[in-house]
Subunit: 453 residues, 2 copies
């Protein structure tokens, strides 16, 4: 009987997160204050984030202890199993061994609680009583709702309207965990009202929802904003995925030729990737690939530039690949991949040539996802389908070249709340989509006049 | 750091199922042919089930080997983790240690694939090309859809209409796995058409859907019927839950004072219970408790009688606790607990005093389920909420008595496709419900004229 799962016992859970900033060959550009154009100072961020998280954001310590209160919550679903996808391998009939880290086993069904639990904890310790956040497909909003409930914080979630309407179960999940969920743009904030005045039918976007959530907390001493991706400390918290996977691969004497993840804001991808990027920096041969959708090709078609993280231009200017802060991606179903920018850490790694990026069409993604569900059983999230499609491409290449390849990827979440998207695919209501160049050029105009990195 | 999960490695998965029929102190009554009133013979069942499963149904061998083709599929999610519910324990503040077997980690999110995979395999080996079945909440239908896909069989599912309408995601899940799902009563069968003629708005019931699924295969050489509960071989396949839990408890030097499960048809309950029932038969002190809903109180208010498994009176007469084969439970949300009868094995164990039964109201069940979700994270299925409510009662009793108690229960599935039911509960749209005695008396009239056990 061939082994399928590689477990870690509770006592083997990593006790520290890994901070890639300690090992970068070249330093990252600093975020800039949009008013002064100068590097942002910790105190500038204090109305939005608690100081203990701001300290993590700028830390260059390599290893950061995970507090026991967080470990205790992690143990509810972590360490997550590493699987070998033997049935999918058979289907592909290529010389590959495919390993995947199953982050779908968490209560909300994705990798998001890795940072949600940490953020709720640090806010709690800092004396905060309420968190506000945005969510796209709802993976992040539901994870933060659960985490806030666990630490006794109130939680308000601005959910991109198109997802709010398409995914009622995600908001019901948030209320089961005691949070308040509003469709964005909403009339609760000036940012939301402005968008609604221009376009009452706006489907919303992550950028808009971020603006609303930030506005919702600024000026409230006991409230802070929480972001589920993009930031350095989010990637720090998500590094536990890669640290566990690294141990698990070692347990069975394997090392990946290629490490892959889907990338929207960059957090699940970086989470599995950073320990292997570190190996690569120190000379190990390994390819690291980020899979993004052709409908929002930030890494493959956007420039590396300073840009706002949100639509209302309230955040610091971040050095990143971006399609421009007012880019409004089509409402395709992989809501978690529809962000105009990309985590500065991931952007930096791509710019430095440590990470490759690849764009995949949603039809190819869903087609691979259905193959997966019908062989491995587990139904992947639409976001996850994009990396599965990239894995299929890798396997085909391995077959053509006649070369063995060990693939490791992050199965970032399950798709059983996204079944309407599968229905659309199976009944031929999804269409291939490549973002027209004119659309990109138009959106990039919003970068004019901003500082250049 | 306190341990939360007890894992078994892939190589530790049980290689044999356990058959409680080998250890019963008194023999079970045989099922009867409804025409002759005589014990049913294997060949009578041949148009409905494949002979290899019929042989399992009547087997009294204690241990039955699990074929390697089935083990290979089991390993996609089995062995499932045994958890200690430390956060829930803290909330209850009672002298209890609560362990739960997390069957929600399977691809469809419940214990159902344990027998679905086995049944699909045995049918395949017997040369069958298509399976037909019924489903209530959809847990069973989705599990069989997945299993059929894995072994290359076609699958048709008759889904109780009220659930078909309330739970669109369940049927989308079935199509993602390539099955055909129809609302029952349907106009595809004589049984369905008869019900629709009497009541075009019939919400359906498991009994009706069973009739339709059986009618759908009888006469088709290459098609057979598949049942997700009630039968002896279903409980045989589900015994893997209890066998794993037994090993896991042993690993940490624990033994339960009480073993609990929710009971609709009886399969998840018996699955975790039978290895412990065996211990009890051989002198071990352990209580075994089945939790059913007050809206369908088969074990607590029904008589032990011979009755049909379906509404159209097409099945053999089974010796079981029953509310009468035309009993139509109210459309409460725990669709999987709405069956008029109870597995003959479970019924026998209750009659012999080896198992206790308890009925719980859905308000109490959901209230416990929300407490669970807000402390342990995982959102339980509405069915599972009933056993959680029973666990809460046990904990309260332990506190009152000032006595320590180790509780083991089967967390039969997650509820993230049942969030509409949580929404109804949280917005006070659910009401307490106890089945009126007159209603029971009326339904029991259908037993008149049938043989008595």
């Amino acid at each position: 009987m061939d082994q399928v799962k590689v477990n870690l016992e509770d006592r083997e859970i990593p006790r520290q997160w890994y901070n890639i900033q300690a090992d970068l060959p070249t330093p990252m550009k600093p975020p800039l204050h949009p008013g002064t154009g100068k590097p942002i100072r910790p105190q500038d961020l204090a109305p939005v984030f608690p100081m203990n998280l701001i300290e993590q954001e700028v830390s260059t310590e390599r290893w950061i202890d995970i507090p026991s209160e967080i470990l205790e919550k992690y143990l509810l679903w972590r360490p997550t199993p590493l699987y070998r996808a033997r049935n999918f391998e058979k289907l592909l009939d290529a010389p590959v061994r495919i390993y995947y880290k199953n982050e779908g086993v968490s209560p909300p069904g994705s990798h998001k609680p890795n940072t949600a639990v940490a953020q709720a904890y640090y806010n709690k310790v800092f004396g905060i009583e309420r968190l506000s956040t945005e969510t796209g497909a709802g993976q992040w909003g539901s994870a933060l709702s659960m985490a806030c409930q666990m630490f006794g914080l109130k939680c308000r979630v601005f959910m991109v309207r198109v997802s709010f309407e398409q995914k009622p179960y995600r908001r019901l999940m948030m209320s089961a965990w005691g949070a308040e969920c509003l469709p964005s743009p909403s009339d609760r904030t000036a940012a939301g009202r402005k968008i609604l005045a221009e376009n009452p039918d706006s489907p919303g976007s992550l950028g808009i929802a971020i603006s609303e959530a930030i506005e919702d907390v600024v000026g409230d001493e006991k409230a802070r904003y929480s972001l589920g991706s993009v930031l350095n400390y989010v990637i720090l918290h998500q590094s536990i995925i890669g640290l566990e996977a690294h141990k698990q691969m070692e347990k069975i004497g394997e090392y990946p030729d290629v490490v892959m993840g889907c990338a929207g804001g960059g957090s699940n991808f970086a989470g599995i990737a950073v320990p292997f990027v570190r190996d690569k920096i120190y000379g190990k041969e390994v390819r690291i690939v980020a899979a993004e959708p052709t409908s929002c090709p930030t890494l493959t078609k956007g420039p590396f530039a300073y840009d706002f993280g949100d639509t209302a231009m309230t955040t610091p200017l971040l050095p990143m690949y971006t399609l421009g802060h007012d880019f409004l991606p089509l409402p395709i179903h992989a809501g978690g991949l529809r962000y105009h920018g990309m985590a500065p850490i991931v952007s930096h790694l791509v710019k430095e040539g440590l990470v490759e990026a690849r764009a995949l069409d949603q039809i190819e993604a869903f087609s691979s996802g259905v193959q997966w569900a019908r062989s491995e059983g587990f139904i992947p999230a639409p976001e996850t389908n994009h990396v599965i499609a990239a894995v299929v491409q890798e396997a085909k290449r391995a077959k053509e070249e006649g070369k063995e390849r060990v693939i490791l990827f992050n199965w970032s979440g399950h798709g059983i709340i996204d079944l309407a998207a599968y229905d659309a695919f199976l009944s031929n209501r999804l269409t291939p989509y490549e973002l027209p160049d004119e659309e990109i050029q138009r959106a990039l105009k919003t970068l004019e006049g901003l500082p250049k990195p």
